[in-house]
Symmetry: C2
Subunit: 134 residues, 2 copies
Amino acid sequence: MVGLRAKGYRLTPQRLAVLRALVESPHHPSVEQIYGQVRLEHPMISQATVYRTVETLKEMTEVLELEFSGASNRYDGRRAEPHPHLVCRGCGSIQDLELPALVREATEVAERAGYELLGHRLDFYGLCPRCRGR
Amino acid sequence: MVGLRAKGYRLTPQRLAVLRALVESPHHPSVEQIYGQVRLEHPMISQATVYRTVETLKEMTEVLELEFSGASNRYDGRRAEPHPHLVCRGCGSIQDLELPALVREATEVAERAGYELLGHRLDFYGLCPRCRGR
DNA sequence: TTATCTGCAAAATGTTTGCATGCAC
DNA sequence: GTGCATGCAAACATTTTGCAGATAA
């Protein structure tokens, strides 16, 4: 699964648990949330291990990291290639968007500028329908 | 200038200096860099004041903040509305992009999802022409 | 067997805050 | 004169790291 072994990494129970938590959640969880989930079955795991595993998976391009300076980073274990998101400033929820034309067009522009493109961030911040009501 | 006074804020030398540093730099400086610049003329200013001023200007929609979790946030005092950027992972340089059609289209999509839109982030990460050579 | 991984605690980083003093108005 | 702003240092939040013991291969 995901080829940790194939790439020379050891397949530890902790890594499997973090990976499962990431793949099973559609909510773009933070390390804190992954930690809480994983601890249900691995009470002895440490946050440091979660941080390290997430970093490893990021290097393997198996998760996508969304950085937030004021708050915790969030992780997408379901779609590791960069893609657009809707981020609610009220409740912190994050949902995926499908905008393939946008991504394609944007990518072309960046490359035309002479950049070797490594990734992108196409995120929209606002209030989700639920949070608008308050 | 910029109407700090008009909005009920006091016009202090520190605030003016930070504002000037922001408007004069096209490099999307960090607080650290603004601090270094401002200190040339105000040796007694503190970093806390720069942080507080930048926060104030952000609330006034006079600067745009670009968050980076691993590194310092960067600030654009020349164009406060959200707009696309090219960010070099090698040297950290940031340059503005003009993609009005992209922004318009993207905005429509987000609003169609029922969001009250507050801002967005359309950034591209890669290696600039200079850094590609290394 | 052995190099990698883990848990723990401490450190590092960027940012925010409390408080006494200073200054814009 | 009054209250907002500043400087300083301490507090904060998140993430990273050093190290000794554990474990996958």
